[in-house]
């Protein structure tokens, strides 16, 4: 085992507002190894997204430290791609132009970026739509464009904040397969935040269950599948290992809803 790619040490986060303060995280510890896919599940409103914002460097922790490859995070990093719940495509840009926003902002070589985007669009079956505008696309296609936009800056680390939650069930399963395949093929490190337990189990190598607010890591489940090859998220739902994982995580979360 080498050094973790992402590490949170004793991280606390408190939001201040006029009508009081909210403690989102209290002494949270977690680490993600290079190439690992970690999912975070927890009761709603427990501060899952806060973790991603801290790793992305758009928020600073109240206490504790957030590290990338052993160095403290000081601001947004070019090595991180952040995929949000909604696609937030810009209506006034074509699919290709939307995907190039990252390289544009970071001043990367646009010719290389354009080739890269074309390859990614091809992999996601969107190449024919590169000159289309977002309002001409379905929800699933829009979210795929958002994925390509996230990957266009070639990040080492992907932060996925419930990226499928706005999609219908069918589209969601298909897209989860695609995203998992692309991320694993490119050896990306990924942190997925979701409230969908099956999604977490079937996509991740490891699932972290958070407590209610203020959140800490309550338990950790390393997900293992029998057989020589890892099943796709869709197939994994039918594997015999799936249900026991699901039951355990579900019960843990249930405990919070009652308390």
């Amino acid at each position: 085992m080498g050094a973790p790619r992402v590490e949170l040490r004793a991280v606390s986060m408190r939001y201040l507002a006029q009508d009081g303060e909210t403690e989102a995280l209290a002494g949270l510890e977690m680490a993600v190894m290079p190439g690992e896919f970690v999912a975070i599940v927890g009761p709603s409103g427990c501060g899952k997204s806060t973790i991603l914002s801290l790793i992305a460097g758009v928020l600073r922790p109240t206490a504790g430290s957030v590290m990338l490859d052993g160095r403290p995070v000081a601001g947004p990093s070019r090595r991180i791609g952040y995929m949000l719940q909604r696609d937030h495509l810009f209506d006034w840009r074509t699919v290709e132009e939307n995907c190039l926003i990252g390289p544009e902002v970071q001043g990367l070589n646009l010719r290389a970026a354009r080739q890269r985007v074309a390859r990614l669009l091809e992999q996601t079956g969107l190449l024919a739509f590169r000159h289309a505008y977002p309002d001409q696309l379905s929800g699933g296609m829009r979210q795929r464009v958002a994925l390509v936009r996230t990957l266009a800056i070639d990040p080492d680390i992907l932060l996925l904040d419930e990226p499928f939650s706005a999609l219908d069930f069918q589209t969601r399963l298909g897209l989860a397969d695609e995203v998992a395949a692309i991320l694993r093929a490119q050896g990306k490190t990924a942190v997925l935040v979701t409230h969908d337990i099956p999604e977490a189990i079937t996509m991740a190598d490891r699932v972290l269950v958070l407590t209610g607010r203020p959140a800490r890591v309550q338990s950790e489940h390393v997900i293992r599948w029998a057989g020589p090859e890892r099943p796709t998220p869709f197939k994994a739902r039918e594997a015999p290992e799936f249900n026991p994982y699901f039951q355990r995580i579900w019960k843990e979360l249930q405990g919070h809803e009652q308390s």
Binding site: V58, P76, R78, D91, V105, Q106, I153
Partner: protein, 269 residues
């Protein structure tokens, strides 16, 4: 391709459009005829109302001597320069307020009051400060700039914060956030502001000319009133109607072009 029902529906729509246009033209004709008849038969005093044929004669005469073009040119130039200056100043101020949020918070009540103030009341002040030529531009800018600031500033502030967050996670600078999200997202509002402004600027210019100038359509109208030549006044008004319509159409055309080019959803003013 289309069914007989669809063709019949399209025919009905076309008929409706023709009927509406016909009614509009008819209304204009009736008003002009009534006006002419009322003056001819002394239902009203023609000294006070003039009449369409006289207005037309005046228009042709003034066009022949070049007087009309001179006044029209002066008013048009003042309007276009005032419009451009109001736009640049208004958008520039809105950008500054977006950039320094504390500035916006401090200035907000003043903007609200300035927005409510009838700007024509400032006319005499501009006349004293800026003289008879420049005060017209002052009036034109004063009347349009505050509306522009307020409209554009509100549009800037209402850009989806998640879109801004998206750019920030990519490491965008403040300038890039403005350039890549805030400005393009506000473009429909900016275009709507232009449509409001072109009319307002014309109001400012004409009021400015009333107070100060030696030329322009506003001057022509005031002069006609002072020497009691109502056909001159009416002619001035008719020409003003024509150029305000032309300017509005020009701005609408610009809006359509920009909307298509940048694939925007148009916004109603």
């Amino acid at each position: 391709m289309s069914s007989p029902e669809h063709r019949a529906y399209l025919r009905r729509l076309r008929l409706q459009r023709v009927a509406v246009l016909g009614a509009q033209l008819l209304l204009l004709a009736v008003v002009l005829l009534l006006w002419e008849a009322a003056a001819d038969r002394y239902w009203v005093n023609p000294m006070l109302t003039s009449k369409p044929t006289k207005v037309w004669e005046t228009l042709v005469r003034l066009a022949g001597t070049g007087t009309l073009w001179r006044h029209l040119g002066v008013t048009l130039q003042e309007t276009l320069v005032g419009f451009a200056a109001g736009l640049v100043l208004g958008v520039g101020t809105a950008v500054a307020l977006w950039w320094w949020a504390p500035l916006e918070r401090v200035l907000d009540p003043y903007l609200v009051v300035l927005n409510a103030l009838p700007k024509v009341a400032l006319g005499p002040i501009f006349y004293v400060w800026l003289g008879d030529r420049i005060s017209i531009y002052g009036m034109a800018v004063a009347i349009s700039v505050v509306v522009t600031i307020v409209m554009v500033e509100v549009a800037f502030r209402s850009v989806d914060p998640a879109k801004i967050l998206l750019l920030q996670t990519l490491g965008a600078t403040r300038r890039q956030v403005l350039q890549k999200v805030v400005f393009p997202a506000s473009l429909p509002t900016l275009l709507a502001a232009l449509k409001v402004n072109i009319g307002l600027t014309l109001v400012g210019v004409v009021v400015g000319e009333f107070i100060a100038s030696k030329a322009g359509l506003g001057y022509l109208i005031v002069y006609g009133g002072q020497v009691f030549q109502m056909e001159l006044v009416m002619t001035g008004v008719v020409v003003l109607v024509a150029i305000s319509a032309a300017l509005y159409l020009a701005v609408s055309w610009l809006e359509a072009v920009v909307t298509r080019r940048f694939h925007l959803r148009p916004k109603d003013a």
